[in-house]
Point group: C2
Chain length 398, copies 2
């Protein structure tokens, strides 16, 4: 009997929710509410909860004592229950411009904010997002400018004997015109896929906005799937609605690296899109593992790219400074002998790959191989990669 | 002091969650788990919750007593807490093949299953999905067949003086070939947008699978935004991360209906895609409001479409049988005098628009205007619209 009553209490509350909105001045719960001064209020209706927390990247990370000892965890703060049974939290200060992510924690269960339909998946975790406009973050917003087309399409790999999914951005006017365009190949990191740059990276919005303002040349941007073991993003292949993982799934023989199948992608793009198919009109850039891919692919194909961007690149095992790897060193010298117009390295001062990039720069310096360098605050996070892309675009195809 | 301790308890549990997975045989929580017999188990870790329910379209709707009296609400069932603090629910019986949606309710708060990254938004509500294969539902799965391309692109509207977002499916081989294709214009319902058919409708998968099996002709499918007041789906326009609503937003003057701007879309598609630009190679179909659009657009442009599909169409106000509207009646007679190859009406026997469709069929019967009719069980739901699309495709462009 007790259980039936308990179910009825929870069910009645849930069933009555739409009608109850009438009690709140006829407006649905607004969360997040971005105030004019860029403080933000979050809200959750949860009458039966004992404790509701909010966690997000706008809160500083914290060290917490647990029964496993002290652990570092994302920042969190307690929400406060109002007389309406709505839990609220307003940021202690003004938030600087950024695309932020957050979740709520109801009695220990991490949930998405049911009042906010905007979410982004990062590997197996989905969080809510909101945008504070200004500075770089204004590039992440859909603006009233001409828009490019974003396609999810499939590129055949002869080596892997399968089609593989990729995202292609074509600039505004591509469908209705006959102009040829330069191509940027933009690569994701480990755990990412062909959706990462257009979702977490806001690449579509950055390109639309920067092309419209004249800060970037109109270009095609190809965002392939950089996991040779994977045909496409989780849920987009015959594997079905699998749980996303960071590491390769079972059954991949590892025979070909992504670097090996990459030239097939360039060939397909040049054959089927209106490109300018030469070195001066090709760029490659990537984050983390994608930085490693960009490092190796550009070195292994020295006539392919005039512009290279390494964003928080993982370059340890490929480090040309390693005396055990004269082959890589030789490739790099060949690549630089052909005078690429830009070799751009960017990393955050807190990045766990910082030391690897110090070694890479030392090697380049010691060998008089020219590059440009940008060091940002913070670490291995999308906030930095969106900024790096926004800084890289004005430097290419000029 | 009490508050600090409570926060610590919830935070510690949340922070320790990844490590605690080690206690569960090193596997993350699997939810939903589809068993070989097509029963399904759902799981949620929620040690502090008093009550966890599951709701989904695989459960029969229920009438429940609340403090507002008896209300009809979606079916729900209680989940049971196991000694691991994992709440579980296994379906009472085997689920028939379908793309199902569900949510969990933790102490009255409706949440998405944090173990399942697959969600679909329907207006302002996001729910989890899972697929039981078989029958029609096998068409909703990504299969190992050649894949078409799905593009999010922008079509100019001269009348509205703005670009508007749309989804375009081009069949496998489009990019690499030079063949021309017929075009299906596929329209969403009220509250929907240009993403509805490719997300809730699984149109991409249905087309890939039916074209591969030879049950549908290779075709271009254009899925425009049918809300004249809207440039694109929520979050995809300069309006920003707005809360989705079913009804028109403020500021739209209503000067043009979607039907008025529709011919601009056909002109743009014929000018910029490899179409066969004639009546014999154009079809139009839509659900609910999109059925109304299909009804009116095909009648107002009698030389445009040889194939028309009305899925659960809203046709009351446009009913040609209304003696007060001789103009519509005249248009219908003109349309049918040109002998469209297919006029297909489909609706569920429980649909709230059923009577409207009875009247429409009576008018067509009374006036000897030929059509085909399919009546399914159930009502105004995506399950039916996916089936109707799967039944419509083999009948067009043959």
């Amino acid at each position: 009997m007790k259980r039936i009553i308990m179910i009825s209490a929870a069910a009645a509350m849930w069933a009555a929710a739409p009608a109850q909105q009438a009690l709140w001045s006829n407006v649905p719960l607004k969360s997040p509410e971005i105030h004019p001064d860029n403080t933000v209020t979050f809200r959750l209706k949860a009458p039966l909860a004992s404790e509701v927390l909010i966690t997000g990247d706008f809160l500083p990370k914290q060290r917490v004592n647990t029964n496993r000892g002290e652990v570092e965890m994302p920042g969190y703060a307690a929400m406060t229950m109002t007389p309406d049974s709505v839990w609220e939290y307003t940021t202690a200060g003004v938030l600087s411009p950024e695309l932020y992510s957050y979740s709520m924690i109801v009695d220990g269960v991490k949930i998405n904010d049911p009042s906010n339909v905007y979410t982004i998946r990062d590997i197996a975790t989905t969080t809510n997002v909101f945008l504070i406009e200004g500075d770089y973050a204004s590039l992440y917003k859909v603006s009233d400018v001409p828009h490019g087309t974003v396609s999810k399409t499939w590129v055949p790999s002869g080596k892997l004997n399968k089609d593989r999914r990729m995202t292609v951005y074509t600039p505004a006017g591509y469908e209705s015109g006959d102009k040829r365009y330069p191509v940027l190949y933009l690569l994701h990191g480990m755990g990412g896929d062909e959706n990462a740059w257009s979702e977490l990276g806001r690449a579509t919005q950055i390109l639309d906005n920067m092309i419209a303002s004249g800060n970037a040349e109109p270009m095609i941007v190809v965002m392939p799937n950089g996991n040779a073991w994977q045909q496409g993003a989780p849920g987009e292949t015959a594997a079905g609605f699998v749980t996303p993982t960071m590491l390769p799934g079972a059954g991949y023989d590892g025979k070909y690296r992504f670097e090996d199948i990459f030239p097939e992608i360039v060939e397909y793009i040049d054959n089927n899109y209106r490109t300018v198919p030469d070195k001066a009109h090709r760029a490659i850039a990537g984050l983390s593992m994608g930085g490693s891919h960009s490092f190796k692919i550009s070195a292994e194909n020295p006539d392919m790219f005039d512009y290279v961007g390494l964003f928080s690149a993982a370059v340890l095992r490929e480090l040309a400074s390693d005396p055990n790897d004269p082959a890589t060193s030789e490739k790099l010298r060949t690549q630089f002998a052909k005078n690429p117009k830009l070799y751009w390295i960017a990393i955050g001062s807190d990045d766990f790959l910082y030391d690897q990039n110090v070694k890479l720069r030392k090697y380049l310096d010691d060998n008089s191989l020219p590059y440009k360098y940008y060091e940002s605050p913070e670490g291995h996070i999308w906030k930095n990669w969106r900024i790096y892309l926004s800084m890289f675009l004005p430097q290419i195809f000029k």
